[in-house]
């Protein structure tokens, strides 16, 4: 591939509050000059209000669940009542005659499908589209399915046993691709229900442990967490002769478009995916999904638009989940804290799916010459897991960060001092320093030192997450002749405010206000944008947004320069005007400059280039930036040793995301990460009945989520960490903000009560059990 010509530029570099340095980078000639630090900018780095705030607070914004098309049918899905069964036959003849039924889709029928085995309760067996939701539900009950029940296993430890019923008879049946967790290895061996291990090694582990003065060892386990997006998974599929339009609550319009084209044999130019607004995803709306295929197929069969929205029970059973994990860590260290060896072994279960690893915290967070990791997936008869907010690393941090806390205690070194010794990241060092000051770390007492029934404690934990970038990320910027501006991309706003940071980025270039920019996103008719997962949307879409705006501005400045009798390079766009840099009294309003255009509009499309310093790794359209993202969180808890109730009183979070673009939205996202982590630590638990394979809490009452009264005081500091790597130098925050919360709380609970909990969630029962106040559950 021919490389674009490069030029050399000097960028701000380093952590702003420690004083900025400079770095030289080679920059493609068609990209804008370096963006100064936030302190010198007027829109980027400011807390701009959401561009769609008004539509959201008035209820006017239309989510996928709110879409109604003329002649639209409503679909419902018949789901397996058995955790493992062979479908002998499906009789839909009575259902087909039910009034209002327009299309029937047998899914697990021996006559229509290659697979006639269902492997979890809630797996789709058939689907119906009818003129009303009620008619579809009535007709579902008229479908007769003849099941042959098969042995099943619904618990990971039992599934690991040699004699356990097999979820998959052979490697050929089992999913074998890249799990959503880490490490993403394909083609691993399958023994019984155990797939793997996925192995990662460096150095000499035996020597490492031989060199250790101290070895700590622990087993840690985490529960299954469900995504609980407030907006259910939803799709309206409209199959027509001239093409397919799909309205879908999705984190990746571009990806779903490709899946649909492949699945239904359509050219890309006949598939359009639209998401106007989406009510949360957290990883569970990353792909087309079985419900997406069902709706499109029903639309094709019924020759009408089909609306399919999962109900809450379906959400809980069959829309993905964060896999449960068990991990054993062994860490060796010298007396001064220097690590000599880390060994990690993990088994996790994503039900019938993959991706139950525990991430790369143990491998990469701390300096240690000798490492060995072996991670396994265990199949059980339960709904498939999928990516959820920092997949792998969130359960993995629970193990590693407690183990480091245990090591610090064994070495009689303060946990922060130990991390200063073993954590090579200068960013996290500064984050620890700031956080310790804010939380008042010097108040931390010996474990269990408080007298009285309510005991307080402080804990800390760290996060690491790759700075992901999607290279196939494009954006168009248009200036119309009346001076109005549009920014367009298929990127969707999952709720993080992606459209708003795009508007800020473009406004900064034109010297306009964010509200002057019309944001058009969430539609594959626009240039292909990145997914809203992997904390990569901002990192991927803001650089092309700035580049496209800058290119358009150059055209506009040429027109203005003619009128002002000067050269384009002597002009600047500022305060809604185009001004002569050295003589700001000369100039014209932005709209006046636009009025001089010879065409209705000028526009440019730009795409995400490589990071200027190159990537750590590249996998197709995705890449990892050189510098991982970090974050350090401190928790202060009060544990009632009589009731077992943990109250998280305060969390201090110090995070980094490259250049912060909108501090208010970042704060909102960090609140979300912390609250989801707190909820994981204390409340959430998908409970499967071992005897039936059924989830016993498939709702939002018995599946416990954090509420407003459980929310701690949250104190957030976001570093400005400039690396000179793109046109905006911005990276993500959503996942790093979630990783450290649960272990920080767990370490604080230990500091409070002096008894270690190594299993999530930390419920009153498990706290009282650990304190010996009630017989412990086996």
């Amino acid at each position: 591939m021919a490389r674009a010509p490069l030029r050399t530029e000097t960028f701000p570099f380093g952590i702003a509050n420690l004083g900025l340095g400079k770095v030289e980078r080679q920059v493609p000639a068609d990209e804008p000059p370096p963006l100064p630090p936030n302190a010198e900018l007027s829109v980027i780095g400011q807390p701009a209000l959401r561009h769609d705030g008004r539509a959201k607070v008035t209820g006017a914004v239309r989510f996928t669940t709110d879409i109604s098309l003329p002649g639209m049918l409503y679909a419902r899905v018949l789901r397996s009542p058995l955790p493992h069964a062979r479908v002998r036959s499906i009789d839909t003849s009575v259902a087909a005659r039910h009034p209002g039924v327009r299309a029937i889709l047998p899914i697990a029928s021996p006559a229509d499908a290659p697979s006639t085995t269902v492997r979890y309760i809630g797996e789709p067996v058939a689907a119906i589209a009818a003129v009303s939701m009620a008619a579809a539900e009535e007709a579902l009950r008229l479908i007769h399915v003849d099941y042959q029940s098969l042995p099943f296993v619904a618990e990971m430890d039992r599934a690991r046993a040699q004699a356990a019923p097999l979820v998959y008879e052979s490697t050929k049946e089992a999913p074998g691709g890249h799990p959503s967790g880490w490490p993403a290895a394909a083609n691993l061996p399958l023994n019984g229900n155990v797939r793997g291990p996925s192995v990662s090694r460096r150095g000499d582990l035996t020597q490492g442990f031989a060199d250790a003065d101290v070895v700590v060892e622990g087993e840690y386990s985490t529960q299954v967490q469900t995504h609980c997006c407030l907006e259910p998974h939803a799709i309206v599929a409209d199959w027509r002769e001239d093409g397919l339009t799909v309205y879908m609550s999705t984190q990746y319009t571009t990806g779903v478009r490709h899946e649909l084209a492949e699945e239904f044999g359509l050219p890309l130019n006949q598939v359009r995916v639209v998401v106007n607004a989406m009510g949360g995803g957290f990883g569970s709306k990353s792909s087309l999904g079985n419900y997406g295929r069902i709706a499109v197929d029903l639309s094709r069969r019924g020759q009408a638009p089909v609306h399919l929205v999962l109900d809450r029970e379906e959400e809980q059973m069959d829309s993905g989940n964060r896999p449960g994990t068990w991990q054993r860590l062994r860490i060796g260290a010298k007396r001064d804290g220097a690590l000599t060896a880390i060994s990690l072994s993990s088994f996790g279960t994503a039900g019938v799916g993959l991706g139950a690893g525990v991430g790369f915290n143990a491998e990469l967070l701390y300096a240690c010459p000798n490492f060995s990791g072996a991670q396994h997936d265990v199949f059980i008869n339960a709904g498939p897991g999928c990516a959820m907010r920092a997949p792998g690393n969130t359960p993995g941090a629970f193990g590693l960060e407690i183990a480091i806390d245990e090591l610090a205690e064994r070495l009689a070194i303060d946990p922060l001092a130990l991390r200063n010794r073993i954590d090579p990241s200068a960013v996290r060092r500064e984050e620890r320093r700031i956080g310790a000051e804010r939380i008042g770390w010097q108040r931390r007492h010996a474990p269990g030192a408080d007298s009285g029934p309510i005991k307080r404690g402080l804990g800390v934990a760290q996060s690491i997450w790759m700075a992901n970038v999607q290279l196939d990320s494009s954006c168009e910027v248009r200036v119309m002749r009346d001076g109005s501006v549009e920014v367009l991309s298929s990127v969707q706003d999952i709720g993080t405010g992606t459209g708003t940071v795009m508007a800020q980025t473009v406004a900064e270039v034109f010297g306009l206000r964010p509200e002057d920019i019309t944001v058009r996103i969430g539609d594959t008719d626009f240039p292909a944008g990145p997914p809203s997962y992997g904390s990569r949307a901002t990192a991927s879409i803001t650089p092309p947004a700035r580049t496209a705006a800058w290119q358009v501005l150059q055209s506009l400045l040429r027109e203005a320069a003619l009128a002002l009798n000067t050269a384009p390079e002597d002009l600047v766009a500022r305060d809604g005007k185009i001004l002569v840099r050295d003589d700001p009294n000369r100039g014209m309003r932005f709209a006046e400059a636009a009025a001089r255009l010879r065409t209705d509009r000028i526009s440019a499309v730009a795409s995400r280039n490589d990071d200027y310093s190159g990537f750590l790794r590249r996998m197709g359209d995705a890449a990892l930036a050189q510098h991982p993202l970090g974050g350090v969180q401190f928790a202060e808890v009060a544990v009632d040793t009589e009731t077992g109730k943990v109250r998280v009183e305060r969390v201090v979070a110090v995070q980094d995301c490259g250049r912060p673009i909108n501090p208010r939205q970042i704060e909102s996202q960090v609140h979300g990460g912390i609250l989801m982590g707190l909820s994981y630590a204390l409340f959430e638990d998908r409970i499967l009945d071992q005897h039936t394979g059924r989830m016993v809490n498939p709702d939002l009452e018995h599946y416990k989520l954090v509420g407003a009264s459980d929310a701690p005081a949250i104190d957030l500091v976001v570093l400005e960490n400039y690396q000179g790597n793109s046109a905006t130098d911005a990276y993500g925050i959503a996942e790093p903000a979630n990783i450290a919360t649960a272990p920080a709380i767990a370490n604080a609970v230990y500091n409070a009560i002096g008894v270690r909990l190594r299993s999530l969630p930390m419920t009153p029962a498990s706290i009282l059990g650990a304190l010996g106040r009630i017989p412990q559950r086996s």
Binding site: A134, E137, G279, G280, A708
Partner: protein, 181 residues
């Protein structure tokens, strides 16, 4: 599924059908007082208020997320008090006044709680937001000078997965202040 008998039983139990002739299972004629206007329509007795608002009335600002009163996303006012509209049959509403998120702003003037939700970023994905705003606005009617604990109590039945609770509290306190000034 709710059948006609259970509807009639529910009617009898509440004793509050205001003389409306309710039958079923076919659609029946009712008149709802929605956002200050009378809306006459025919609804199946099995439909909830949330379903009728979102369906025939196209007032889609009211959201259904759990459909069993556990998350409060469907909160509307009934005679000024917040209720879960997924837990009430439309035929049970009678003459009581229903206020939805669409009826909160006065013409183009946002309610102070709506304005504060924008300014304090108490909105992320926005799906729980209409219900959350209805409860916070109702709080200000009951308790014009609330403290943070009052706000947390007012939204204790609301679930938000994005984590807006802290900003909802800040926004509602700011709205109360703005309303007094």
């Amino acid at each position: 599924m709710i059948n006609a008998t259970s509807v009639l039983l529910a009617q009898a139990a509440t004793g509050d059908n205001d003389g409306a002739a309710v039958g079923g299972p076919d659609a029946v004629a009712i008149t709802l007082q929605i956002n200050g206007a009378a809306r006459a329509l025919r609804v199946e007795p099995r439909l909830t208020l949330a379903e009728v608002l979102r369906g025939p009335l196209d007032l889609i600002g009211t959201k259904i997320a759990c459909n069993r009163g556990a998350c409060s996303a469907c909160t509307v006012w009934l005679d000024g008090s917040p209720i879960c509209s997924c837990m009430m049959l439309a035929v049970d509403v009678g003459t009581r006044r229903v206020t939805t998120i669409e009826g909160l702003a006065q013409d183009d003037m946002l309610h102070p709680v709506q304005q504060a939700f924008i300014e304090h970023d108490a909105v992320q994905c926005g799906f729980c937001t209409p219900g959350m705003i209805m409860s916070c606005a109702a709080l200000l009617e009951r308790t014009p000078v609330p403290n943070a604990e009052d706000v947390r109590a007012a939204i204790s039945g609301h679930l938000c997965r994005c984590g807006t609770y802290p900003h909802v509290v800040t926004a509602t306190l700011a709205a109360a202040k703005a309303r007094r000034e």
